[in-house]
Symmetry: C2
Subunit: 429 residues, 2 copies
C-alpha cells in the first residue's frame, strides 16, 4: 500500500481523479493502459461520500473520498473529513484481524480524505440480494469470523489495559460520527424531530405511541449511555447489510468510518436487526402468498446461526487466545478454577446477548421512524403493505428493547419473529 499526507483537500471529480491516480505508479500499473482510457464512474449510493469505480486495461479499483458534509443532506450538515482517517485505521486493523473479509487497501491520502481499495466484483451489496430473496451460504461463517475476531482481539480479554487505553484514545477523535448514531438512532426516533419520517399515515399511531412510551425511553437511554461509555472493543459501528458485499462464495465488510471503541452488542445487534428487517420486509415483496417461504426460513435460521456461531467462536478465542488483562488465568488455576472461569465465560456471553438484543431493537426502530431508512422496506411500493411489515418489526423491537433480558436465547428472538409473520397490526389513516 502507498500512503500520502501531502496536498490540500479538494474534491476530486473525474478529471482530477484521473490525474491523481496516474501519479501513483502502483495504482496506474494495476489499472493498466493509458490513463486517458480509464473508465471512471461515480457510484456512491451511501449517505456520506463520493465513491468511484475506475477500470483500466488490466484491472479495476474503488476510490472513496469523504466530503466535508453529509451527502444525503448537503452542505448544511458539515461532517469532518477526519472520518476517512478513522476508516483507514479501522480497515487496517480489521484486515490484520480478519484477513480476506475486508477489501484490500491500496492507497490512502489523509489530506484528501481519499482511500483506494480493491474493486469488489462481482460482489453486490447484501441488502439488495436480500430484497431479491437471495440466500448467501458463506454469510454466517464469514460474518461471525469477522465479528468474533475483530471484537475479541480489541477487547480487554486480548489486550493489556495499556494497549486498550491507547487504542481507545486513537479513535476518540471520531466523535462526530458517533454523534450521528447518538442522535439518529438513540434519540430522534423517540421524539419529534425534523428529520424523522415514517410510512404515513399508516404508522402515525405507532410513531405517536413510541414518543409517549416512557419505558421505551428509559431503555433507549440506557442503551445510549452504554454506546457512549462502554469501550469494550473496536466496533465497525455501522454493520448493517448495506455495509456487507457478497457473492455466493465471498463476503466483504466495507465502510467502517463509524469505527470507535464501543459496546460489542452494537455490532452484533446491527447484523441481527438487519436480517430481522429483511425477514419482515419479505412478506411485502412476495408476488404470490408463500412465494418467499424458503428464503424467510433461511433468514431466521441465519439469525439463529449468526448469534450461535459468533458466541461459539468468541468463546473459543477466549479459551485459546486470552492475552489480555481481564480475567487473568492465574486467578483460575486448577480444575475448580478452570470450571468456574468457563461458567463465567457463559455468563459474560449472556450479558453480551442481552446488550445485543437491545441494540438490535434500536437499529430496527431507527430504520422505520428516523432519518435513514432501508430498501428492504422502502422498495415495498404499496405503502400499506410496507407499513404492515414495518409494524411487525417494530412490535418485536419494542419488546426486545424493553424486556431484553426476557429473551434468553436467540431462538426466543426468532420464535417471536416467526409468530409475528402474519400478525395484522392496527394501522392509522
Amino acid at each position: 500500500m502507498t500512503g500520502s499526507r501531502t496536498g490540500d483537500y479538494r474534491i476530486l471529480q473525474e478529471a482530477a481523479l484521473r490525474d491523481y491516480l496516474a501519479g501513483l505508479p502502483d495504482i496506474a500499473a494495476l489499472l493498466g493502459g493509458k490513463p486517458a482510457a480509464w473508465g471512471i464512474t461515480e457510484v456512491g449510493d451511501g449517505n456520506l461520500n463520493l465513491v468511484f469505480i475506475v477500470k483500466g486495461a488490466r484491472g479495476g479499483i474503488a476510490v472513496k473520498q469523504a466530503l466535508p458534509y453529509v451527502r444525503l443532506v448537503g452542505e448544511s450538515w458539515p461532517l469532518p473529513l477526519s472520518r476517512a482517517h478513522y476508516e483507514y485505521l479501522a480497515l487496517t486493523r480489521q484486515a490484520q484481524l480478519a484477513p480476506g473479509l475486508v477489501p484490500a487497501l491500496l492507497h490512502h491520502n489523509e489530506m484528501l480524505a481519499l482511500t483506494v481499495m480493491e474493486l469488489l466484483e462481482p460482489h453486490i451489496i447484501m441488502r439488495k440480494g436480500l430484497v431479491a430473496g437471495t440466500r448467501y451460504p458463506r454469510f454466517v461463517d464469514d460474518i461471525t469470523t469477522f465479528m468474533a475476531r475483530t471484537l475479541f482481539f480489541t477487547s480487554d480479554l486480548a489486550l493489556t489495559a495499556a494497549e486498550k487505553k491507547e487504542a481507545i484514545a486513537a479513535f476518540a477523535g471520531n466523535h462526530a460520527l458517533c454523534k450521528i448514531t447518538e442522535d439518529l438512532i438513540f434519540t430522534d426516533p423517540y421524539r419529534i424531530a425534523e428529520q424523522n419520517r415514517w410510512t404515513a399515515p399508516y404508522l402515525d399511531g405507532v410513531a405517536a405511541a413510541l414518543r409517549d412510551d416512557m419505558e421505551l425511553h428509559v431503555a433507549i437511554s440506557r442503551l445510549k449511555l452504554k454506546f457512549m461509555a462502554s469501550p469494550e472493543g473496536l466496533l465497525h459501528g455501522d454493520l448493517h447489510t448495506g455495509s456487507i458485499m457478497v457473492t455466493d462464495s465471498e463476503t466483504r465488510v466495507i465502510d467502517p468510518e463509524f469505527a470507535f471503541y464501543g459496546p460489542m452488542g452494537f455490532d452484533v445487534g446491527a447484523v441481527l436487526a438487519n436480517l430481522l428487517m429483511a425477514f419482515f420486509a419479505s412478506a411485502g415483496h412476495e408476488r404470490a402468498p408463500g412465494e418467499r417461504h424458503a428464503f424467510e426460513s433461511w433468514v431466521l435460521e441465519t439469525v439463529d446461526q449468526v448469534w450461535n456461531e459468533f458466541a461459539r467462536k468468541f468463546l473459543e478465542l477466549w479459551r485459546t487466545d486470552a492475552g489480555g488483562d481481564a480475567y487473568p488465568v492465574s486467578l483460575f488455576a486448577g480444575e475448580k478454577g478452570v470450571a468456574r472461569l468457563e461458567l463465567e465465560r457463559q455468563a459474560y456471553m449472556q450479558r453480551l446477548f442481552t446488550d445485543t438484543v437491545g441494540f438490535a431493537a434500536a437499529k430496527t426502530i431507527r430504520r422505520i421512524f428516523g432519518l435513514a431508512h432501508n430498501i428492504d422496506f422502502e422498495l415495498i411500493e404499496d405503502p400499506k403493505r410496507r407499513a404492515i411489515s414495518e409494524a411487525r418489526a417494530v412490535r418485536l423491537a419494542r419488546g426486545m428493547m424493553v424486556e431484553a433480558v426476557a429473551f434468553r436465547t436467540i431462538a426466543d428472538v426468532t420464535g417471536a419473529a416467526r409468530k409475528l409473520r402474519d400478525w395484522q397490526p392496527e394501522l392509522s389513516g
Copy 2:
C-alpha cells in the same frame, strides 16, 4: 499559577530546589526573605514521590516531585514521570469543580515532574486522626461535595459525548498508574505474589481461603474489568483517608496522580472502605474496653452519611445541571416523563451503589493481603489483635464483593459491620 516545560528532568534535592524556587518570582515573594534562610524539609511518607515543605519569612509552600521509580520499592520498579502531568491536569479540573476542597496550585513544571502547592497547615492526614480516634465534623459535607461534583460534572450526564471522549483520551496515557491498581488491588491479593504480605501466621488460613475462593475470583475479575473499561467519570483514583488532609473546619483532597476516567464507584468505595477499616481497626487501638465507642459510632454514622449525602447531591446535580448527552430531557417531557426519569435516576444510583459496595470490598482486601497496608491496622502493635481486626474487615468485604446486590442500602453495610464488631475469628498459628 506559573508554569514551565523547560529544563531536563533531574531530582531536586535541597540546594537545587532552593535555587529553582528562588528563580520563580511569585513563589519567592510568597515565601519572603532571603532564599538562603528558607527552611526546606523532605516529608514525603507516601509510596511514590518526594515531598518538601518550604518555609520562608512570610509563608510556606509544599513541593512535590515525581521520581522515575516507585519510592516504596526503589529503582527496580520504574514509573513514568508523566504521572505528575496527569496529577496536575486532575488537580486543575478538581479545583474548578470543587473549589476550596483541593490544595491551591502555585506552579507546575512538566519536564521536572514538579508541582508547587499551597502549604496545608495545620491540616493533618485524616488517617492519622482516625487512628487517634478523632472525629471530623466537616468531613461528610466536604467529601460528598467533592465526589458528587467531580464525578457528576465529568460524566455523560454533564458532558457532551464529544467532550467526554476528548477528556478520556487526555488521561489515557496515565495507564502505568492504572496498572498499579489493576495488579495490586484487583489481582495479586487473590494469588501467590511476591509482594503480598499479611499478619502471619494468624491470617495464613484466611489468605489461603481467598486464594481458593473462585466465587471471589469471579467477583474481583468483574470489578477489574469494570475498572479498566467503564470510563464513567474522572476519578481521583486513590481516594483513601491518606489522600485527605483535614482540620476541624477544613478538608482537602490531595495526590490525584492515579486520576483517569473510570467507574465512579471506585472513588466512592475507596472512601467507604477506608472508613470501615478505621472502624474495624479501632478495637485494636483501645486501651480499655469500650473506650472508643463514641468514635466508632461516629465512623459508622459517617459511612451512612457519606453514601447518603453523596447520592443526594449527585441526584440534585442531575436534576439541575444535566447538560450532557445521556438521558436527554427531551425524551422525558411532561409529567409522566419527569416522573419516569426520576425513577430511573434512583435506579442509576442503585447500580452505582452496587458498584461502590464491590469496590469498597476490593479496597479493603488489598490493604490486608497486598503490598500496601495502612496504619489503621499496622499501628496495632499486638499482631494477634491486629489480625482479629483485619479478619473482621475481610469477612465483611468478602460478603460485599460476592453478594454486592444483597446490600440494598448503606445501612445494610454498616449494620453488617456493627454485627462483626466483637466477632471472634478463627486464627491460624
